[in-house]
């Protein structure tokens, strides 16, 4: 089932950049220093609308740090991040999410003590606009909004394939399902750019296969994807472009086949651990 493209909510900047070719996300000379430790050193790259870009590299290369900087969880020591041309400096993660940049986490992160449906409803937070005083006065539009949000939540559950688990607690789900729930919660936040941090780590091959298909469906909804992944099969299978990070710098960039053959990349991996090719 192909879902209709969702309308852009009114809190987004008016400039819709798909047509003029300006990148959706632009990382400009970003560096992150923790005291004496350099986590990320002067990296720059762009993500264009509609792409699927993978960020790969050995452990400790700085990938999650980059994610944290982009989404406002960490302030860069220098450099800037632009989303649709807009400088994200100083923004807090919830504001970044409000612009359409939503991420998942490397370590599975769900609301364990809430039901799956409630998890999605929380993800839908920004899709509602009811204010506290409206809630307190129990205005009609509050109830209407609640019904609308619940319907959306059910849709998302169907999309991700977790409908039959709707009333179970997030923490009670099997590992693979929890990772799916994570993605569903992120999708609920209505991203235009979805940033997934190792989404299939710990999944078995058939689960990974299923996830790759779902990624395809996510793309059909017009969502751009930036991915951090170790699973090479997945990276090769879904990416349009691959960026390789090693010790805080980008050592290679290009289509997946090229990257696979790049001697520097192979060197970086052989020096640092296994690959899942």
């Amino acid at each position: 089932m192909v879902m209709p493209r969702r309308p852009v909510p009114s809190n987004r900047p008016v400039e819709d950049v798909a047509s003029n070719g300006e990148p959706l996300l632009s990382i400009e000379n970003v560096s992150v220093h923790f005291g004496g430790l350099v986590a990320v050193s002067n990296i720059s790259f762009v993500v264009k609308e509609g792409e699927v870009v993978s960020l790969i590299g050995p452990n400790g290369a700085g990938k999650t740090t980059a994610f944290n900087v982009i989404t406002g969880f960490l302030a860069p020591t220098s450099g800037r991040v632009r989303y649709r041309g807009r400088d994200l400096s100083g923004m807090r993660p919830n504001q970044v999410a409000g612009l359409g940049l939503v991420r998942t986490f490397q370590k599975t992160s769900v609301f364990a003590k809430n039901t799956v449906l409630e998890n999605i409803l929380i993800g839908l937070h920004l899709q509602g606009t009811s204010r506290a005083w409206e809630v307190l006065l129990a205005l009609g539009r509050v109830r209407a909004e609640d019904i609308r949000l619940r319907k959306k939540a059910v849709e998302i559950l169907e999309f991700i394939g977790l409908s039959r688990r709707a009333n179970e607690l997030g923490g009670a789900l099997a590992y693979g399902e929890q990772r799916l729930l994570e993605v569903a919660v992120a999708l609920a936040a209505n991203p235009t750019l979805l940033m997934l941090d190792e989404p299939v780590s710990g999944m078995n091959p058939s689960e990974t296969e299923g996830f790759m298909k779902m990624l395809g469906r996510i793309r059909e909804r017009g969502i751009t994807v930036l991915l951090v992944e170790h699973d090479m099969r997945m990276v090769m299978g879904v990416s349009g472009r691959v960026l390789v990070l090693n010790q805080g710098t980008i050592i290679a960039e290009g289509p997946p086949q090229e990257i696979q053959r790049n001697p520097e990349v192979i060197e970086a991996y052989l020096g640092h651990g296994t690959q899942h090719a």
């Binding site: 989404t71 969880f73 919830n94 992160s109 769900v110 609301f111 937070h125 307190l136």
Partner: protein, 353 residues
């Protein structure tokens, strides 16, 4: 749905109480229990639902009490050597509303601070805040009469000009006032908690990082929870001061915060009916046991009880009952491990639907 019907039945029962309980002392106990329960409910919003370890809650209660009392009594303040600021007494209802407003303001302050100062530090800040308030009340004698207490606080007067007037001298009208405030507070909290905003609060409590990553504004909701929580506590304080009609700085004592905390924790934090259960137990039990044991012994027992609850029923009585009910009576598909329920009422309602 079942929960709601039960709720109204319970309210009807409570409304009828003064009709068949004539013992004035017991009525007094009920009123005080009710006032404290309202404060406990407000604490639950901040502590239970939003997960903020606020141990200075009695400050809001006391601020509401003092503000309302001062507004209705009027006061003079020596600003400079020549100038005296005179505040004329205002009607009691205005006093209570001022109490709510001022308490709410301080709630806003605490909310803002809670964002910057986390975890154990926040606990200390809130306790310190309440202590500072107590010391201010104790030492700013010009305004608050210090340890000599503010007395002769007028009771509430309701009137339809020229037609009808009722002044709340007697216990029965105060009981209904308390009940009215309790129902309003309960409905307020329930509406908030069962909404998108309530979900945001719980999300902040359960997994703040994840919540911010999907757009929940931490500061805004912490402040909101703190303000509403403080305002309700302030209202309880206002009602309190016009009922007992004499207040002194002891109203800010930490022990009262502890009482509220015990009510919330044993009843069930993060549930709507938890504080009520806790409030009833710890409001009425001390009175019942007065004959049997000295206050100190009672408190030792309460302390031990609190430790026991934390060890064995960490979520409190209401969720434990809810789990037990579900595990024994409900459809096997909805069986959950104990301690899993986040909101007993909502779960029960959903199970019945």
């Amino acid at each position: 749905m079942m929960a709601r019907w039960f709720g109204w039945l319970w309210v009807a029962f409570l409304v009828s109480v003064p009709l068949w309980i004539k013992d004035q002392y017991f009525l007094h106990v009920l009123i005080m229990t009710g006032i404290f329960t309202i404060a406990a409910m407000s604490l639950n919003l901040l502590l239970g639902y939003t997960g903020q370890l606020s141990l200075g809650h009695v400050a809001f209660f006391g601020i509401g009490a003092y503000t309302s009392a001062l507004v209705s009594l009027g006061f003079d303040l020596q600003i400079t050597n020549d100038h005296v600021f005179v505040f004329d007494p205002k009607p009691v209802w205005l006093g209570v509303i001022s109490g709510i407003a001022v308490a709410g303001f301080f709630g806003w302050v605490i909310g803002k601070i809670s964002f910057k100062v986390r975890g154990a530090y926040f606990v200390i800040v809130t306790i310190s805040f309440a202590e500072v308030m107590r010391l201010v009340a104790l030492n700013w004698v010009d305004l608050t009469q210090g340890p000599m207490a503010l007395s002769s606080i007028p009771p509430l007067t309701l009137q339809i000009p020229g037609v009808w007037e009722l002044t709340f001298w007697r216990k029965t009208p105060n009981y209904y006032l308390m009940l009215f405030l309790a129902v309003v507070s309960f409905i307020t909290i329930r509406r908030l908690v069962h909404s998108r905003i309530g979900r945001a609060l719980v999300a902040l409590r359960e997994n703040e990082t994840l919540a911010t990553s999907v757009g929940v504004d931490v500061t805004r909701y912490l402040v909101l929870a703190a303000v509403v929580s403080a305002a309700i506590a302030g209202a309880a304080g206002g009602v309190y001061s016009h009922y007992v009609r004499i207040i002194d700085p002891d109203v800010f004592l930490f022990i009262y915060t502890v009482t509220m905390v015990i009510m919330v924790i044993t009843g069930g934090k993060g549930t709507l009916s938890g504080p009520i259960v806790g409030g009833l137990i710890f409001g009425i039990a001390p009175e019942m046991l007065r004959e049997l044991a000295q206050p100190e012994i009672q408190w030792i027992i309460y302390g031990a009880l609190m430790v026991a609850i934390v060890f064995f029923l960490p979520d409190g009585i209401v969720p434990a009952l809810g789990s037990w009910w579900r595990n024994h009576f409900a459809d096997p598909g909805s069986r959950q491990p104990p301690g899993a329920a986040a909101d007993g009422d909502a779960q029960a309602a959903r199970a019945v639907k």
